[in-house]
Subunit: 405 residues, 2 copies
């Protein structure tokens, strides 16, 4: 007997029939003697309709009230799910954020979970009920409804698993698990059986889109094993767990890419202390997330500075930088939207040399020019021309021995 | 300066544009220096879609979970309304049942309000906010969401007005107020300027459908003045208040009708103590509301018993009564669905004789046969053939001097 937290996303509960299918699956686990806590997202499309309604009312809807409206999507899901369980002859209860005591700060729309009081859930489990918890939502210390941001239901599930000391947190989604790379552009992509939290974090931030990044940070912090698997099959998916020595034998476990960034270069920046801060402060303050930053060694008191920003922020950032460049006496500002970032990831890199070199060589063999390089302990990223993205992913996948045989 | 509770129904908040219009109206009151608490229903059609969703999932949806789902309709309304107020440059906050501490028992789907802790609302008012409270919903002592049943938002508004000691409770609806009778069948119907709680109770229970009956009971108990008026005009509507001596000068203030009942007659019931209870107990127990009951004087130890039930319950009640009639040795059971009940109502009846007589005479002049009669202190009802309903209403309306000149 185990305590299992499961999370089903919007496509998994996108219709009455699908919710019933999920209910039947949960009942199977329950019948095997497991205690079941099930976190649900809003039915697919529901969140978007609610957002549309809010923006029809106001161009900049009040954040508190937006959360009041948005949280109804998950409320309907858990209500319908509990009805489904009951109609199958089992007992269930739905709990909203305030009922499950999912306490957050009050940054409406992007709140963080502070703690969870598990009394009510434990009581319901003790009474042999299946507990359905509304994902994505919480309550602040004044009783206001908050939401955790897109993908927040993953975080709800992991935080619940941590608080309840669950045996496992299963994240059900519409894919079979986490792949070595995107199967859409690399047919030889393989499903990973196991990977570390850190690898998942790099994969998530690089666009793999399987798990909400905050949920993985949470899982790492509290050492919650996550099982990413498909709602629509019974196959084992991918276990995301703490790093083991075994994992280090594999040097590279995945290849990720991100086409959603653009590059800004400032030529001939007068190089003196405080110049980087002078340039980036206004950009950070306007909420733009700067990713890769590269600064060349100074020559004759001047340096070139290049960095990437998300594409939607490109034009406003370019404008801001243009103004600053003039002020500080830089030569000129260049921008390029047709770039992409390709990365190889693996905890094995910590103990294996030569990964970066192998990556550069593999790209060179295909005549792919590398514009920027950025490395971390377990990742090497190269910014290249966007048109080479798919080719780069495929050759790197093969070069690092990831191809499905 | 006054503290005003206003309630807007589903048609009044049926679209983004209508919610904005309501927000503008509320702001006008606020600008005049009033403290505003606004109770909203779900957007028109919303409650029905939610019910449909629940019944698509289960033929008999779990009542607790049904309330979880149903309460989202009002939640969206108050969120959108508060956004509207804010976009007009004023401050507002939405409060759900649990946030406004609208404490109820836990009869899901038909809960009763037990008490309201007003601390949070008073605090928001003190901070100069317009407060939007979700109608129809409450919270039980274990933190479960409850709903008050159809039309429950009226009750929310009146209960809030009582708890907050508001100066007036304004119920906004899609008609101009309460009429002497249904204007659809009697073009000479007049809007009443003022009426008593008791008259309104009789009007409501007889099908006038303007106010939720429980809200009027509440208003009477706590002496909350209700102003029933139109969302779509600025005309004064109808004040529903405690009875005054002045009111007694008008003998009859309205004519109501109800076509939604059917009649059951048991012929030649052996008349002995306990027989009525023997007949009605199973009917009451099955939840059927029996309205008019008439028992003739016994003759040779036998009596005839006639009563009315709501039309949707007619067939099941007829079947039940058939079984009992056999058991107790009655002669036979007759049923008739083509009936209606016409009533004249007025607190003035308490001090004026002859109202019933005048009613019988008026109906007789039109050759309308009276099948059953039932009276209370302030009402006389006659059951007649359904096809005469409109005619009866018109002639009674004229006979009692209610016609608009």
């Amino acid at each position: 007997m185990a305590l299992i937290v499961q999370k089903y996303g919007g496509t998994s509960v996108g219709s009455i029939e699908k919710i019933m299918a999920v209910a039947k699956r949960v009942v199977e686990y329950y019948e095997q003697g497991n205690e079941m806590v099930v976190v649900l997202s809003a039915m697919a499309g529901q969140t978007d309709s609610l957002i549309k309604l809010a923006y029809d009312m106001s161009d900049s809807p009040d954040p508190r009230e937006l959360d009041v409206i948005m949280s109804t999507g998950e409320q309907v899901s858990v209500g319908l799910f509990s009805m489904a369980i009951k109609s199958l002859g089992y007992d269930a209860t739905s709990l909203l954020g305030f009922q499950a005591s999912i306490n957050t700060d009050n940054l409406y729309g992007k709140s963080r979970i502070l703690d969870i009081k598990t009394d009510r859930i434990m009581k319901e489990l003790k009474d042999n009920r299946i507990v359905a918890v509304a994902g994505f939502q919480g309550i602040d210390d004044r009783g206001n409804i908050t939401t955790l941001g897109r993908g927040g239901s993953d975080t709800t599930a992991v935080a619940l698993a941590a608080a309840l000391k669950a045996d496992v947190c299963e994240i059900f989604t519409d894919v079979e698990g986490v792949y070595t790379t995107d199967p859409n552009i690399c047919p030889k992509a393989r499903k990973l059986d196991v990977m570390s939290y850190d690898e998942m974090l790099e994969m998530a931030s690089l666009g793999a889109k399987v798990l909400h990044i905050r949920s993985v940070e949470f899982a790492k912090k509290y050492n919650v094993p996550i099982h990413v698997r498909s709602t629509f099959s019974k196959e084992r998916g991918t276990m995301v767990v703490a790093e083991t020595e075994d994992m280090e034998k594999v040097v590279v476990s995945g290849v990720a890419y991100n086409k959603n960034e653009a590059r800004i270069t400032i030529r001939k920046v007068p190089d003196h202390p405080g110049i980087a801060s002078r340039i980036f402060e206004p950009i950070f303050e306007s909420g733009v997330v700067v990713d890769v930053i590269v600064q060349n060694t100074s020559e004759d008191g001047f340096t070139d500075l290049t960095f990437t920003v998300p594409k939607p922020d490109f034009h406003s950032a370019l404008k801001q930088v243009g103004v600053i460049a003039k002020e500080i006496g830089a030569e000129k500002v260049l921008g390029d939207e047709d770039i992409s970032k390709v990365s190889v990831i693996g905890v094995g890199m910590r103990s294996h040399a030569g990964v970066a070199q192998k990556m550069f060589k593999t790209l060179a063999q295909e005549n792919i020019n590398i514009m920027m390089i950025s490395t971390s302990e377990i990742k090497v990223s190269c910014v290249i021309e966007e048109k080479y993205t798919e080719l780069a992913v495929r050759v790197l996948h093969e070069a690092f021995g990831l191809d499905d045989e």
